[in-house]
């Protein structure tokens, strides 16, 4: 899984570096589109390439022009800060269904080049103090509407987007770790030592939405898989779960989709009918991750 993913990354980044514009990647790829390149003489030689949305397409070899990686990073930074207009993402975690498969954790760690002790999502074994019930609780970043981490950051390296996502820009982070101190959900992790496979990804341009490559001395955190959302796909953890624990969607549209069954349901109804709650609601952070109670009899 690990290997497969990193291969994919390198392949993809290779393409990005070449500045290929694949057919049918209108939304994403136009950013990299340069008309002049297409006017150049065609020599008829075709080659197969992988586009940013992972489709294989054939293009004329003469169209392949290298793109400055810095420009690349800048563009990704820009769109990463703006976010997806008109959306407001929300996640629902059905605790009654979690069987501690940990597929969410593992897929997340693989994609984001994390070490085993670094978690963007962590499955915790919980015990209810009042009734003694035990259950497993996947805990990603809550993507709070009142994010403490964002308020305290001295440089705006961690920020809140209009679509509700709280992201981190590791090109800007100064490593003060105030955000780690401020987060009541312990959702953040730090690159204390050289990140995993640092050598390998050294020249890959930084993708703020995928949040890789990781960088020494900076903070890393769950990004609700912003890169996948841009492609209209579900986050990595959500699609990795075999037990139908995760729902994900847009609360403006009021629909969420189950990552396993792919069934789409009304968000408000799902929350209301199952007495959903948020973690540490009393702190007033207003999470965008909702939990459906564990061990429900009528399940």
């Amino acid at each position: 899984m690990d290997r497969e993913k990193s291969n994919k990354n390198t392949r993809r980044d290779f393409i990005k570096k070449l500045g290929i514009v694949g057919a049918g990647t209108a939304t994403v790829a136009t950013v990299y589109f340069d008309k002049n390149d297409l006017k150049a003489q065609k020599n008829g030689k075709k080659i197969k390439v992988l586009t940013t949305d992972k489709k294989v397409v054939e293009v004329d070899a003469s169209d392949i022009v290298p793109v400055n990686t810095e420009v690349e990073t800048d563009k990704m930074q820009h769109r990463g800060r703006v976010g997806l207009v008109g959306k407001k993402f929300a996640m629902v975690i059905d605790l009654a269904k979690c069987k501690n498969a940990r597929k969410c954790m593992h897929s997340c760690q693989a994609v984001h080049q994390l070490k085993p002790e670094q978690h963007h999502i962590n499955v915790l074994e919980m015990e209810d103090e009042v009734n003694g019930a035990t259950y497993f609780m996947p805990k990603p970043c809550m993507h709070c509407d009142e994010p403490q981490c964002v308020s305290v950051c001295p440089v705006g390296a961690t920020f809140k987007r209009q679509d509700g996502l709280v992201l981190i820009d590791n090109e800007m982070c100064i490593g003060c770790r105030f955000c780690i101190a401020a987060c009541p959900y312990s959702a953040r992790s730090f690159n204390w030592t050289d990140p995993k496979d640092a050598e390998k990804y050294k020249d890959v341009p930084y993708d703020i939405e995928l949040n890789v490559p990781q960088k020494l001395g900076t903070v890393t955190k769950c990004a609700f898989s912003a890169d996948r959302l841009r492609e209209d796909k579900l986050p990595y953890c959500v699609s990795a779960c075999p037990n139908g624990v995760f729902y994900f969607g847009d609360s403006n549209e009021d629909f969420v989709t189950n990552g396993t069954t792919k069934k789409t349901v009304r968000l408000s109804k799902l929350l209301k009918n199952n007495s959903a709650y948020t973690l540490l609601a009393e702190l007033g952070t207003k999470p965008n991750v909702f939990y459906l109670p564990p061990n429900r009899e009528n399940k």
Partner: protein, 436 residues
């Protein structure tokens, strides 16, 4: 209250006594070389940290602030003593502080300057330091802290410098044997001072203004430093009395530091006629007073949440008093605060040697108190610590981390030694005024 002993001294005597520290004896050369070697060793560890990242420390995701931050808080705390002595007591017309106020300022400047470096050692990306100035967000308490600490360093430097102007002029005249460039610097710094009465009026006015300005700035530096913690939602930090609690604690640590500095400066430079036993006695009383205020805040800090054991804050206090951190907590509170307080009530213990030893205990205790404020709260997060290596449940600093922290103290000693080789430690002109 006038100082008996200085009253009887002639101006020439005062001048000679108080500029004789501007001289490098063999003993002081050995001392500074030792310090420099020690500093080089500590620097080596910092270089390894620069190369390998903060991974050389014992920090981890659940104790991401450790002794660097504790040390930073401590340094800021100690630097507050300048304001306590010169401003609070000085503006109240307490005259006995005159011979010790410059030493208090020296402590303030040295500790505040080094505090700035200590915070840099804690950064994961010191190479991006400038980001704070380029992309600084006014909403972040760190930015407030940087703003007030630099203002404090600046005003403290002025407060050290302005009363030195007449003394610079004097040194330039008296110590003609010094290297040319050094004399030139004195000349430039003396700004054409000529002991004219109108110059004295101006300088006194200026000092008074600075003394007033520094009060809010000093209170701000430590209050803002306390907010780095108090503005979060963590049990143990999320407290509305953190500001005054920190400021009162700072006075205790700072006053103790001053006593220690007085003792060593006095001994080494033979300043007994100016810094008398009575000064130690009075500093002992100051310590009693500030400790009393600090104890009061400690009581509030513990009792109020402790009364509600069901809350997260209550659980944190319990952990401190009888749990994991209890041993350190009680050692610090008893040996670093309670016993010193009671001993200092007895006149015998306010003699120079005993009070210096007591102050050392307070000083060390105060450092560990900062540790107890910073670290345990992080190790008791709201959600359980799971799926991480065993060592994430505790925090123990590494050799590199300790060496870098020790380095900050060595640097303070270097600065304080160097300063004592270039300026009179006691304002000569003020002493001369006293003896009129």
């Amino acid at each position: 209250m006038n100082n008996e002993s200085t009253n009887s001294l002639s101006h020439a005597e005062i001048e000679n006594d108080l500029i004789k520290n501007i001289h490098w004896s063999t003993k002081s050369k050995i001392w500074i070389s030792t310090l420099l070697v020690a500093f080089a060793v500590c620097l080596y560890f910092y270089v390894t940290q620069l190369i390998h990242g903060l991974g050389v420390t014992g920090l981890h995701d659940y104790a991401s602030w450790g002794i660097y931050i504790s040390n930073f808080v401590f340094f800021v705390a100690v630097s507050l003593v300048g304001m306590l002595i010169s401003s609070i007591l000085g503006l109240a017309n307490v005259t006995w502080i005159k011979p010790i106020s410059r030493i208090a300022e020296i402590i303030a400047v040295s500790f505040a300057l080094v505090a700035g470096l200590v915070i840099i050692t804690d950064m994961g990306r010191p190479d991006r330091l400038l980001n704070i100035f380029i992309h600084g967000r006014v909403q972040s308490p760190i930015v407030w802290d940087i703003a007030v600490v630099s203002t404090y360093v600046f005003v403290s430097l002025l407060l050290l410098y302005v009363p030195l102007i007449p003394d610079f002029a004097l040194i330039g005249k008296k110590l003609t044997g010094l290297p040319k460039f050094q004399l030139k610097i004195y000349k430039v710094l003396s700004l054409g001072w000529a002991d004219k009465p109108e110059q004295f009026i101006i300088i006194k006015k200026l000092i008074k203004i600075l003394l007033v300005i520094i009060i809010p700035v000093a209170i701000a530096i430590h209050t803002v430093t306390s907010w780095l913690f108090a503005l979060t939602l963590r049990p143990g930090w999320d407290s509305s009395i953190f500001g005054p609690y920190f400021v009162s604690g700072a006075f205790v640590a700072g006053a103790a530091a001053l006593v220690i500095a007085l003792y060593f400066y006095r001994k080494h430079y033979g300043l007994e006629k100016y810094i008398t036993d009575e000064h130690f006695n009075l500093m002992g009383k100051v310590l009693v007073l500030v400790s009393l205020v600090y104890i009061y805040f400690n009581l509030n800090e513990v009792l109020v949440p402790g009364f509600k054991p069901g809350t997260a804050a209550g659980a944190h206090i319990q952990e401190l008093l009888v749990g994991h951190e209890a041993t350190l907590y009680w050692i610090v509170q008893i040996f670093g605060l309670a016993i010193p307080f009671f001993l200092l009530l007895i006149p015998m213990f306010r003699k120079p040697i005993p009070i210096t030893i007591i102050s050392l205990a307070i000083f060390v205790g105060a450092w560990f108190k900062r540790f107890l404020i910073v670290v345990p709260s992080q190790l008791e997060p709201y959600l359980p610590i799971q799926n991480v290596p065993e060592k994430f449940y505790q925090y123990s600093p590494t050799t590199a981390e300790i060496a870098i922290t020790v380095g900050s103290f060595v640097l303070v000693l270097i600065i304080m030694t160097l300063i004592s080789k270039v300026i009179p430690l006691i304002p000569i002109w003020e002493m001369k005024e006293e003896s009129k």
